[in-house]
Amino acid sequence: MKNFAHYNARSVAEATHLLAAYEGKAKLNAGGSDLIGVLKDRILPDYPEAVINIKTIPGLNTIEENDGGINIGALTKLVDIINSPLIKKNCPVLKETARTVASPQIRNVATLGGNLCQDTRCWYYRYPDGIGGMIKCFRKGGKTCHAVPGENQYHAIMGAKKCFAVCPSDTAVALTALGAVLTVAGTKGTRTLPVEEFYTPLGNMLALDEMITSVNIPKPDPAAEQAFLKFTLRKPIDFAIVSVASVITLDQGICADARIILGAVAPTPVRAHKAEEYLKGKKLSDDTAAEAAMLATVGANPLSKNIYKLEIVKTLVKRVINSGSCLS
């Protein structure tokens, strides 16, 4: 690693003003489970001049119930989300999702804000500088995405144009299903932003001086069935090859409302709108689940080595609808 300035921010204002002062050449650090690897492997063309520790900001690690729903501070550790009775009762899909992230050691330090803001795992993007130099790609200001003609088995099958890296965050998939809204602070004040609108093809909507301070989850319908399935080669550690989160409200066996979100298939979590629309008003059965699964892949445009992900998407969508719940 190279030298950098290090700050312990005592407030959100201090952190955002430091971000502004460094004009994009500073990185926020909470749990560090993503950033340290990025720095050690020197995957980025520009090394940050400063690292701003935000763990020292008080008050951003609480889970509270309020009128609007459940509020989770951005510095809340994944382990605390998993152990929270409030989360378990109201948003089991988030608990289940957090539980699938990495390993216990990482969940003990990794934060919700960090999980949402982590950088992509694309192996071209992450290629270590020490083995012949980092790979310049579209995401780093280059001209091409090497995954398109290359090893793209884990890459995007839909919604990508110039960079085919996928959004690695598991919690983003569950929070999108729950309709969660982020509170974002910058030097000019705070704003809110639905998780669904947070991601962009090359990253996220945060301005240079902004950070997530909290996540607000509108209280789900107690009758809604929540589910999350994550497909990986290994149970622990791995990032999703495909994941699916669902929140489905049934009224006497008929689907009243459905939110089905696909993860690791695109640069952003993807709402399977066609599948959601199809399910509304239908009685859930193997056939409707299969049809919804098929509709979830409409518009997909896979690469040379990742067509198989379509089949996994279909299977997981079918299974979240059939299993109905992650409490089982």
Binding site: R121, Y127, I131, G132, E311
Partner: protein, 763 residues
């Protein structure tokens, strides 16, 4: 025969256990030497290129930098299996990650920054990755001296008749006798990394004109005297070993990290430490050989194989570390598995532009078998033969012969493993689970179970010479002088048990000299499962010799002959007279130690054996394969240390073993020549959180030639696994699979669920 041993066969505390678990053990990365510098390697970005220019001016000016070396100023040392063809640094690079320049600096950080200041211009050359493409006339030539990128056969490694192919009998005759003939291509080319937890590391210290001291995490440190000294101009090497954070065979040759550190030390006059990062370990160190067979097999209705012929194409990557040596052993091992009168299996070792292949446990045999067994199963399927019966019928039996690595015909004088096969099958429940070829054991919705089985064995438990001394001191202690490295298995501790048993000494009073070539006689190292039999025999002989000297010294004190004496707890007794006793000190005093000498001569007549049964569950809607249960069965003659043996057999998981059938693989982008998964998230390795159910069946049929009737099996646990899993998955999904790994994309593809027509727009 004595079977009521004091230590042998009983679990004892590993002598280094507390040091390891309390962090006291000094691994190579913990060691420092006064005045030591740190080395770093600049690595090639291109798979094949000529270096047009290197500018090191800026790097040399960085404060703290002591040396920057390029191909222009390193010593002309050459390594690689013969003829030697790999220079420490060269004007041509042949794989991404190859060393281009070396830096030594006062700190690791300075060395790393200096590397970034070196400017290199390359002239890119076309690269080739596939063995058959590499042999085409228009393929890029990786070494000028190797026509069509094919390496010459080895003619010296294991003597003048070194085995380089299997040609026996008359294939045409076998063809005429066969009831079934099958032909096909099977391959094991996912080049898994053995991936010991500790990365390769060394400290090299050049002293005077031609003395080099090397501290290293090598599996066979003493071998540097044999292999490296001649390659480095006949200098004198003192090789000191550190505890090895596992090796799985891969840290044996070791010149890939020793030579660069030695060159830097020679240039600076200071000790230089060079420890690889994990990414270097994964992307620029050696992996398994790639193995592909185009073959033909003839079989009779009863499972008798009438002939086997074919081309064995071996992909060794950018150079041969010792590929031709591995072929010799692989060809020997194939014959142990198959009693076949007519062979024509012709290997070719081929260079390609990826990180090189090298020594890994299984040593050619695993790579061969993972392609050969699937080929044989094609014939078994046609003949409708149960694979367990096939292996039972065909595994080498006492009295059978085989050509071993030295090209000599050896006759098996070891164990008949029929009982181990039967006991393993019974424990696994093979009869109940086996439903026939390409038939699942059970179906539950999308989940299908399947079973498979594989075998392996080698005749290397008695390979090569071992020498050892055992010293008895007057204070009632025994010291073993032997350069056996502790490579993670507990073998040093277990050798102490053998000496404690011979001398009837408390285990705490048996000591081992440090691994140091200056102190100890020659030791090839714990390879080929030779620790128990070859090294054990040398050390036991030394202990017996020391005891004989002790009794000769002390017999006059009792006025008896040496044969009348026995010893225990550092006391000498007259047999049958418990009252007549004297401590060793009365014979040895403080100045008269006995030094016993032991030697083991090579013997390839005792094959060992491992059969692995596996049960998998395949989700046919996602393509996911789960390994549910594994049963390993073997016969070891006599267990030395039950926990060590259990660990070795459980080691069939990891180290490029059974999971190389499922997900352990090195993924190369063939446009860039780069290894994409050089990190521990993308390189899939089973974690402790999802181990399958494991059962071990260990028989103990006494073996002649060893005081405790024991043979080794440590190395061979990995090799039968991949083909067993391949068979299990094929049976589960009802589709024959002939190569690895069985990742979800390949399973769904085999099931016809990946429709290429769905791919639109992108290529």
């Amino acid at each position: 025969m004595i079977t009521d041993y004091r230590y042998i066969g009983k679990p004892t505390l590993r002598k280094d256990a507390f040091d390891i678990v309390t962090g006291k053990a000094k691994f190579i990365s913990d060691l420092t030497v006064p005045g030591m510098l740190y080395g770093k390697i600049l690595r090639s970005p291109l798979p094949h290129a000529l270096i047009k220019s290197i500018n090191t001016t800026e790097a040399k000016l960085l404060p703290g930098v002591k040396a920057v070396l390029t191909y222009k100023d390193v010593p002309d040392w050459k390594a690689g299996a013969r003829p030697q063809h790999v220079r420490v640094l060269d004007s041509k690079v042949r794989y991404v990650g190859q060393a281009v320049a070396l830096v030594a600096a006062e700190t690791e950080k300075i060395a790393e920054e200096a590397i970034r200041l070196i400017k290199v211009e390359y002239e890119p050359l076309p690269a080739v990755y596939d063995v058959e493409e590499a042999m085409q006339p228009d393929a890029p030539l990786i070494y000028e001296q190797f026509n069509a990128n094919v390496l010459p056969p080895e003619s010296r490694a294991f003597g003048p008749r070194t085995l380089q192919e299997i040609v026996i009998g008359d294939v045409d005759k076998g063809l005429a006798e066969a009831d079934f003939v099958v032909e096909g291509t099977c391959a094991y080319e996912n080049i898994p990394n053995p991936l010991p937890p500790e990365t390769p590391g060394v400290i090299a210290s050049w002293e005077g004109a031609d003395n080099l001291t090397v501290w290293s995490a090598s599996q066979g440190p003493h071998m540097f005297k044999v292999t490296l000294q001649p390659l480095m101009g006949g200098i004198n090497i003192r090789s000191i070993g550190s505890p090895v954070g596992a090796s799985y065979g891969s840290k044996y040759m070791s010149w890939q990290f020793v030579m660069p550190a030695a060159a830097l030390s020679k240039a600076t006059g200071k000790p230089v430490k060079l420890c690889f990062k994990k990414s270097e370990h994964l992307a620029a160190f050696t992996v398994r050989l790639g193995s592909r067979i185009h073959g033909k097999v003839g079989m009779k209705k009863d499972g008798t194989v009438t002939f086997l012929s074919g081309d064995w194409l071996v992909n060794t990557g950018a150079f041969s570390e010792c590929a031709q040596f591995m072929i010799a052993v692989g060809c020997g091992e194939a014959q142990l598995m198959l009693r076949c009168p007519n062979w024509s299996l012709k290997p070719k070792v081929i260079c390609t532009n990826r990180t090189a292949s090298g020594q890994v446990r299984g040593f050619g045999g695993q790579e061969l078998k993972c392609a050969l067994i699937p080929l044989l199963t094609m014939a078994m399927e046609k003949a409708n033969i149960d694979p367990v019966n096939f292996f039972k019928k065909n595994y080498v039996k006492p009295g059978d012969g085989y050509y071993w690595r030295d090209g000599e015909w050896w006759v098996c004088q070891g164990t008949d493993y029929t009982r181990a096969i039967e006991k393993g099958a019974e424990t696994f429940g093979w009869k109940e689970k086996w439903q026939g070829w390409l038939k699942p054991t059970a179906v539950d919705g999308a989940r299908r179970r399947g079973v498979g089985v594989g075998v392996h064995g080698n005749a290397d438990i008695g390979e090569d010479v071992s020498e050892a001394f055992v010293r008895l001191d007057g204070d009632g202690k025994a010291i073993i002088h032997c350069s056996l490295a502790e490579h993670g298995t507990g073998q040093r501790s277990n050798i102490c048990k053998m000496v404690a048993e011979v001398l009837q000494l408390p285990l705490e009073r048996v000591f081992f000299t440090p691994v140091d070539s200056l102190v100890n006689p020659v030791e090839i190292g714990p390879v080929g499962s030779r620790g128990t039999y070859a090294i054990g025999n040398a050390v036991i002989a030394a202990a017996e010799d020391a005891q004989r000297q002790l009794f000769e010294k002390m017999a006059p004190l009792f006025k008896v002959t040496p044969e009348d004496l026995e010893t225990s707890e550092g006391m000498v007794y007259v047999k049958g007279k418990p009252g007549a006793k004297l401590p060793w000190s009365k014979g040895l005093h403080y100045y008269g130690a006995c030094l016993g000498r032991g030697r083991f001569e090579p013997d390839f007549s005792k094959p060992n054996f491992m059969i692995v049964f596996s049960e998998v569950e395949v989700d046919v809607e996602t393509g996911k394969v789960d390994l549910i249960r594994v049963v390993c069965a073997t016969d070891v003659g006599q267990v030395i240390d039950p926990p060590s043996l259990t660990n070795q057999l459980n080691g069939c998981l990891g180290s490029g073993g059974i999971d190389s059938a499922l997900f352990e693989e090195t993924i190369i982008d063939k446009r860039l020549g780069r290894i994409m998964n050089a990190n521990m998230i993308d390189y899939k390795w089973r974690t402790f959180a999802e181990l399958p159910e494991m059962e071990l069946v260990v028989l103990e049929t006494p073996v002649a030639g060893h005081r405790f009737h024991a043979i080794g099996v440590g190395e061979i646990a990995t090799a039968p696994g991949p083909s067993a899993v391949l068979m299990a998955v094929s049976n589960a999904i009802g589709v024959r699979l002939n190569d690895y790994p069985l990742t979800p994309d390949r399973i769904l593809n085999a099931l016809g669920k990946v429709n290429a027509a769905k791919r639109r727009g992108k290529q």
